[in-house]
Amino acid sequence: MQNARLGRVGPKERESGVSFGEQIAQYVVSGLTTGAVYALVALGFCLIYNATRIVNFAQGDFLSLGGLMAYTFLTGAGLPMILAFPCAVVSVALVGALLERLAIRPAKSRQVMVLIFITIAASILMRGIFKHLWGKEALALPPLSPEVPLKVLGATLTPQNLWVLGMTLAAIVALLWFFNRTLTGKAMRATAINPSAAALMGIDANRMTMYSFGLAGGLGALAGVLITPITSLSYEVGVIMGLKGFAAAVLGGYGSFVGAILGGLVLGLIESLTAGLVSSVYKDAVAFVVLLLVLFLRPGGLMGVKSGDRV
C-alpha cells in the first residue's frame, strides 16, 4: 500500500538541470492531475453520504473496477477506446446500483454504523472477486490518446494530464446540470435534504439512494479510467486512492460538492509539492496528516460554515 505510485514526477527531475520555476510548474501539473482524480472520488463519497449518511468504503473499489473493465473491453472484447471508456463507466455504475439494491436496501439494521460496515464487507468481497477475475499482477491500461508530450510554462504535459483535467471538469458540469435541471436530479436533492418530506411528495427514497450509488459508481469508474494509465492498474489500486479521496472529502467539508472538488485539488497539490520539495518518502502520509489536522482544527472542512456541531 505504501508504494502506490501517483503522478510521475519525482525528485529525480531535480538533477537534470531544469529551473526551479519549471520544477514548481511540473509539481503543480501533476498535483492538479491527481487532485482532479481525488476530487472525482470525493464527489462519489459525497453523493452517497448525502443520500444515506453512510461513508461508502467501497468507493475506491469502483475506481479499480473502472480501470479493470476498461482494460477488458479494450483487450478482451477488442472495442476501441472511445467505446471501451463509456462501457466501463456504465457497467461500474450498474455495479454501484446493485450494491445498494442487494446489500444496503435489504439490511435489517438502519444503524449507520452497520451500514458502513456493509460497505467495508462489500469492498473485501469485491476485491476478492477482482483478484480472482483479473489476477494479482499489474495490468497496463493505455492512455486515452497517444502520448505526445507538450511543453507549457516549462512543465511537461501529457495528453492524459489534459484528459484528466478536461473529463473531471466535464463530469462536474454534467453533475451540475443533472442536479439543477433534471427532475430526477432535483428529486435526489430533495431526498437528501428532507427524506420524509420528499417521500410525502411521492419521491421513492430507495430509488434515489440507488441512483446515488449508481452515480458514485460511475464517478469512481471515470476516475479509474483516467488515472490508471498514469499510475498502474491492479485489483487493489483503488484502496489507497479511495482513502485519499476520502481525506479530500473531509478536507473539503464532508458532504459538500464544492468542498469535494476543492479538497481534491488542494490535497493533490499539497501532496505533489511536499513530495517534490520536502521528501517523497512520506508522500502517502501527507494526505492523512492533513485529514487529522482538518478534523482537529476545522472539522467543518474548507467549506464548513462553523467548526462542527457540538454535542
Partner: protein, 318 residues
Amino acid sequence: MTSSGKRFYAGLLALAVLLALLPLAVSNPYYLNVFNVVALNVMVVTGLNLLIGYAGHISLGHAAFFGLGAYISGILTGSYGWEPWLTLIFAAAVVALVATIIGVPTLRLKGNYLVMATLGFNLIVSVLMVQLDDITGGPSGYSGIPPLSLFGHAIATDQSFYWLAWGLVLVGLGLARNLVHSRVGRGLKALHESPLAAAASGVPIEAYKVKVFVVSAVYASVAGSLYAHYYGIITPATFDIFKSVELVTMCIIGGMGSLWGGLFGAALITPLPQLLAVVEEYKDIIFGGILLVLLIFLPQGVVGWLEGKRMRPGGRAF
C-alpha cells in the same frame, strides 16, 4: 450481587475451566499458537467493544494502538534493554496519551468524526513504521525482542504464553464487566442513547467518551506488548488498516455491546484466514461474503441474536 452478575462470573469460571483443560487435549504447538493469537485478539476486542457497544463510536485505528504497544515494547526492550513489564506499562501510558490527543478534539463533535480520525491515524502509523527504518527495522520488521518472564521463568514457549495470555484475558473481561455494570457503565449506555438526557442527568458525556476510548486503546496496547514479546519479531503489515477492520469485524460479528460476543467473534474470525488458506484463491470472496451476509441479516451479531432469542425483555445477559 445481581443474578446477571452471578451468571457472568459463572460463565467466566466455566471459561477458565475450559481453558485449563484445553492444553491437555491439544498439545500440538500449532493449535496452541492459534489459541494464543485468539487470546490477544479477544483482549483488543474486549476494549473495542466498550467503545463500540457502549459509547457508540467506531475506531478504525485500534490496530495502530496494538502496533504502538508492540513497537514501543519491542524497541525499548530489544534495543535499549528496558525491563519488559515496566515497558508494557510505559507503552500503555504513551498509547493512552496518544488516544487522548485524538479523542479530545474529535469526540466532542456530533457525528462519526472519530472513525475518520482513527482511520487517518492508522495510515500514518503504518507509513511511519515502514519509513523510520533506523528505529523500526522498516518493512521487514523489528526482531530480537526478548520474551517476558514471570517469577524468574521466561515465558518463551507456546504453552507458557497460553497461561499468561488467557489469564490476562480473564482479568480483562472481569474489569470490563465491572465497568459496564457500574454507574460509569450506565452513564455510557445513557449517553449512547440520548446525549442530551445523559448530560442533564449528570453524566459528563465528553469526558466519558474520551475515557472509554482511552481505556479501549490501552487494552489494545497491552495486547500489542504481549504480542511483541511472544513472537520476538514484529512487522508493519500486522498493524495496518485491514487489521483494524478485522478487529471491528470481530466485535460486530460477535455482537456489539456483548462481552461474550467479542470473545466469540475473535474466536471465530482469528483462525478463519488459516482455515480458508486451503481455498486461498477464494479466501477474500468467502470472508467478504460471510461478513456481508451476517451484517445484512444478523446486524446484532451472533451472540446478540442468541441473547435476544433467550430473553427479549430484560436487556443484556451478561
